[in-house]
């Protein structure tokens, strides 16, 4: 393995992680400054802008960056074209601020101007992912999840572009709200869930010295969810509640199968103590299991928990899914990936030449745990606040989240400082020749 090739490893994913980290600060500030937006309708411009700041800015940036890191190592190959990845990074960096601004002003023409380069960037990402998987010659659940996740993400962006165009020229025979719901579920279910149902089974054993004892529930979990997701978006678009319910049940069955496989995988681990990032990741995965159940409740407005005046609505569902589920998953990934990539760049070339620390030694686990706990403690007040439309609960939740994110960003800064100020441990020096 050439040292020159190794030296370039980690920079592209780290760039995406920093983009996601920056957006984590911006999106949290947007919420902290106006927590009352969570009491609005899910189709309100401020809510759509906030959602895209979180989902595109934070979640998609981190997840796509993680794929650039994970796909080559999980598949035992190299990234097809790193240059395409940098183009993707540039397009994503310039387009998301414009998209969030355009959503907040509900300016669909400007939105189209910025969403088009975003879509182009995702197209480049998808091609890079597919070619990388194809070059690896792998056809296992991990390879399939990477390919399918890229496909779902591209599809989501295209549907989003069509939905925006439809707002300008109205050519679709569907209620725009149903188009919005289909778009959201394509992205959240299709991209994130599909990704988690595959790569988790490569990463968690790697981080915990474990093993996947049986790949069958992994495969069945992935495919059950795929069948559910394929029918979910059209069912939501056409408002066929029975089909949407059946789809949600299939997705839930798939998640349960993956969860069963995950539990068995975790039981095989040799590294017993789980670090804060991995614990947050697990908590988020557990919370995501609730998503299809909450979604089912939403589909039946006549039920006691159904949507409608004062009932369970889309906003608490979105808060539970995004803040309760995806945020800890993504932040948990950041906890693992940022120290590791920093180690790769700052200390990788020094291994064997001088004493080097471990990636974990770059972190402050107690500070990290505090940051994650504060973020976790925001979920309940935000969820109940969005449900009951109680301003003080929303303010409390937003403040807790902001405190947790501030600590987290500060901690990430401490880790990243090693990039320009590496510290060589005095102990464990190798013997002199």
């Amino acid at each position: 393995m050439a040292a020159s090739w190794l030296a370039t490893q980690g920079r592209l994913p780290l760039a995406f992680m920093l983009l996601g980290l920056g957006w984590l600060g911006v999106a949290t500030a947007m919420l902290a400054l106006s927590p009352g937006v969570l009491a609005l309708s899910h189709a309100a411009p401020a809510v759509v802008a906030l959602t895209h700041a979180w989902v595109l800015g934070v979640f998609v940036s981190v997840a796509t960056g993680a794929i650039y890191q994970i796909a080559p190592v999980a598949l035992g190959t190299t990234l097809w074209r790193e240059r395409l990845g940098w183009w993707h990074f540039a397009l994503q960096s310039i387009s998301i601020p414009g998209m969030v601004y355009a959503f907040s002003r509900w300016d669909m023409a400007t939105l189209g101007l910025f969403a088009s380069p975003f879509a182009l960037g995702i197209g480049l990402f998808a091609i890079n992912t597919w070619k990388t998987v194809r070059n690896s010659g792998r056809h296992d659940a991990v390879a399939w999840s990477l390919q399918l996740a890229a496909l779902w993400l591209l599809l989501t962006v295209v549907v989003g572009l069509v939905a925006a165009a439809n707002r300008l020229w109205t050519f679709l025979p569907f209620d725009p709200i149903t188009v919005l719901r289909a778009h959201a579920h394509l992205g959240l279910g299709g991209f994130f869930l599909t990704l988690l149902q595959g790569v988790t089974f490569r990463l968690v054993p790697m981080f915990t010295l474990g093993d996947v004892p049986d790949w069958r529930p992994v495969r069945s979990g992935l495919w059950l969810s795929q069948f559910g997701l394929i029918s979910l978006a059209p069912a939501l678009l056409l408002q066929w509640n029975l089909l949407a319910s059946a789809s949600a049940v299939l997705v839930l069955a798939g998640m349960l199968s993956s969860g069963h496989a995950f539990r068995r995988t975790l039981a095989t681990r040799k590294k017993r103590a789980l670090d804060p990032g991995l614990r947050a990741f697990l908590a988020g995965c557990g919370a995501l299991l609730l998503a299809p159940i909450l979604g089912l409740l939403l589909l039946w407005p006549a039920s006691p928990w159904g949507s409608g005046g004062g009932g369970f609505g889309a906003m608490p569902y979105a808060v539970a899914l995004l803040v309760g589920g995806l945020l800890p998953v993504i932040v948990g990934m950041l906890c693992k990936v940022i120290p590791f990539l920093t180690w790769m760049i700052a200390y990788g070339p020094k291994v064997g030449r001088v004493p080097t620390p471990s990636a974990g030694a770059l972190t402050a686990p107690r500070l990290e745990a505090w940051a994650l706990s504060l973020q976790g403690s925001a979920v309940v007040p935000l969820f109940i606040g969005a449900w009951t439309q109680e301003p003080w609960l929303l303010s409390l939740g937003a403040c807790l989240l902001a405190a947790g994110v501030m600590l987290f960003v500060y901690h990430a800064g401490l880790v990243l400082r090693h990039l320009w100020a590496p510290r060589i441990p005095a102990s464990a020096a190798p013997p002199s020749p």
Partner: protein, 106 residues
């Protein structure tokens, strides 16, 4: 540089100073080094990784070579990365098990 009478034990000690970046445990205690052999012309290390998809594997491999080259003098250094036999947790030393808390699963 030492060019004669190179003792494999010295090399094992040098390799023990390299920690795995994920677990913070020496690569020797993790059981990643299969063998170290010294002849007058060659130093040969056979090593593995916990998984073939280990993201830091490239740097560990390069690091082992760099560590050995410090002692090899004029000898050729050969570091073979193999996955047969595959690494298993049975190769963890008692020290590694203690650090990782793996004894609970025994």
């Amino acid at each position: 540089m030492i060019t004669t009478d190179l003792n494999p034990a010295t090399l094992w000690q040098a390799l023990r100073a390299i920690p795995d970046p994920e677990f913070g445990v020496s690569i020797v205690d993790l059981g990643l080094i299969y063998s170290v052999e010294c002849t007058p012309d060659l130093v040969q290390v056979v090593m593995t990784l916990t998984t073939s998809s280990c993201p830091s594997g490239g740097w560990i491999h390069e690091g082992v070579r760099a560590a050995v080259e410090q002692f090899a003098g004029s000898r050729e250094v050969q570091v073979d990365l193999v996955f047969e036999p595959a690494w298993t947790t049975d190769r963890l030393s008692a020290e590694a098990r203690r650090v990782l808390g793996g004894d609970e699963t025994q």
